[in-house]
Amino acid sequence: MPVYDRGYTHWQPSEGKSLPAWLIITGRGVIEPLKRRWLLLLILMAWVPAIVKGGIIYFKLKAGNLTDLLGGGWSSIGPDGFLSFLEGQRFFVFALLAIVGAGLIAADRRDNGLSLYFSRPLSLIDYLGGKAGIVLFFYCLVTLLPVWVLCLLAYLIAPGATGLEMLLVIPLRATVYCLLSGTSIALVLLAFSSLGKRSIFVMVWWAIMITGTEAVAAIGEGLGSHSLQALNFLGQYHNLGSVVFGTPARLDVSLFVSLAMVLGWTVLAVWVLRRQVRPVEVVS
């Protein structure tokens, strides 16, 4: 019988299995932005540094110039080189996450979407996990994924020279770093998103958080004060990244201070999210 002749029918469950709620939210949240061409262009641009680095690795390995590659610097294939690469991606991280993440909760608050979500068999953790998954996906798309590809490229070109380091150690370090930093960054961005109902305001606050704190740290550095570096939002993650990658610290800030800062705003973000993400808005 054609579907339009049947009227309302009760649901007959099939054999198929349903996915976890957070994964459904992440899946939908990832697919929708990827339909925008200019966002794809931005992602492509974010891969340009990786392509350049890949080219350098290719030519140096082909030329047998392994000593150069194992040294420090952005183009090297040592841990320092990959951490520098991740640092260099910060503009794309900022821009991409601002575009994708600013409206994730703000739009739901504006359109009463939270009420819809929480009329389903869904917990707060499912909802936030799903939204954080979207941010984490795009974060890893321009950080972790290029590192994996570059490591694989280096290994395929010169398996003997690069060995286990390229196949396992660096990818593992990058994975740990990107997942930890990405989760924290995602929670902070979602907390900003939950504070407003308009994406543009969230973007402004996000810009202040990323570029503003970096500018303040730079001004402090120019004036000879290193203590202001503790305010540099992304800088703290890179500083802690030096522990994961086993390289010298990136800032003149104690690692404990960096850890305290990162933990501090992550906990603050979770507190804000618990307060703000509710199906009902309480107006006192």
Binding site: G7, D111, L116
Partner: protein, 333 residues
């Protein structure tokens, strides 16, 4: 609109879909919104009435388990909403008054997405989305972006998303809000069909009494957070004191004296006599299946008096008490 195929899902078939609310008290920021509300519902269409701010929407949110329940108990389908709200919500459909569509998604995409979040496998969710969108009359518009929908289409879409997982109960918050008369009738027809023909329980929260009259069999009336009354929509038929409209000509004094023998109260509106009778005083009046008094009990007695006194009747009928009159009587005391 009536479906001829009825597939019954054992997971959501009627079984035990009762709602039990006992001594529910709730406050927003120390402002009491619901106070000691208790009732039980089996199924069918129930109207939730009350003035603005009386706690209708909050009561629905308590039934959905969207707010913590500090005092009292709410059970839906045998599940305690304080501890098992997530499980219970798989059997509940919610149509919010405000917002309720996610911009950027097509109609079918939104409904399928929310179906998946309700626990349907992906393929089932998509199939159900198409079915319910056909049912609510959005078949041709289902691939359009939600934000491009008209108000009437958005209301239908919200109804579709509430239906996609085949809930046992539908909670509808002002479903006809912002609709033109034609759109309003269409939505009410759908709701009526679901409640009366498809076996879904419906709680319709609204301040439009006509909507309730056209869909519901029973009403719950809230005022200032308290459950003021619970009664059938045609509850006036159950009251022994009823008003009859009489118009005629002849010996008015004799007719009036005859009515006095029935202990009737008589008032006049121009040429119309409003005769209030206590039907219990007329012996053992016959009642209908729902326990309501048959109108013939009163009209028969008046006819006898008219025949005795030679008063020629031009009009004689029981005066229908509208839900509006009943509502204002309840709410305003």
């Amino acid at each position: 609109m009536d479906g001829t195929v009825t597939k019954v899902n054992p997971a959501t078939a009627p079984r035990d879909a009762r709602i039990r609310v006992s001594s529910l008290t709730f406050a927003y920021a120390r402002r009491p919104v619901l106070q000691d509300v208790s009732f039980g519902l089996e199924s069918g269409a129930i109207g939730l009435l009350g003035p603005n701010g009386s706690g209708k929407t909050t009561l629905l949110r308590c039934l959905l388990g969207q707010v913590p329940l500090p005092a009292g108990k709410v059970e839906v389908a045998g599940l305690d909403m304080a501890s098992q709200a997530r499980r219970a919500r798989a059997r509940l459909g919610w149509m919010p008054e405000r917002g309720g569509v996610i911009p950027g998604m097509s109609g079918v995409g939104l409904v399928a997405y929310l179906g998946e979040l309700s626990g349907l496998p992906s393929r089932d969710a998509m199939q159900r989305a198409h079915e319910v969108l056909h049912y609510v009359g959005l078949a041709d518009e289902r691939y359009r972006k939600c934000e491009d929908y008209s108000q009437g289409m958005k209301q239908r879409l919200k109804l579709a998303q509430a239906l996609v997982h085949d809930p046992a109960w539908l909670f509808l918050d002002e479903p006809t809000s912002g609709l033109d008369p034609r759109g309003r009738v269409a939505i009410l027809e759908l709701i009526r069909d679901l409640a009366w023909n498809k076996g879904l329980g419906v709680i319709l929260s609204t301040h439009l009494l006509a909507d309730v009259e056209s869909v519901c069999r029973e009403i719950l009336v809230l005022r200032e957070g308290r459950l003021l009354a619970r009664q059938d929509v045609d509850g006036n038929a159950r009251e022994p004191r009823q008003v009859f409209e009489v118009e005629g000509f002849g010996d008015e004094d004799a007719f009036a004296a005859g009515l006095q023998r029935l202990e009737a109260q008589v008032t006049h509106q121009n040429r119309l006599w409003l005769v209030t009778l206590d039907l219990d005083r007329l012996g053992h009046p016959e009642k209908d299946e729902q326990g309501g008094y048959r109108a013939e009990v009163g009209t028969g007695a008046i006819l006898e008096i008219a025949a005795e006194t030679g008063f020629a009747l031009r009009r004689l009928r029981r005066r229908p008490v509208t839900l509006a009159e009943e509502f204002y009587h309840l709410v305003e005391g």
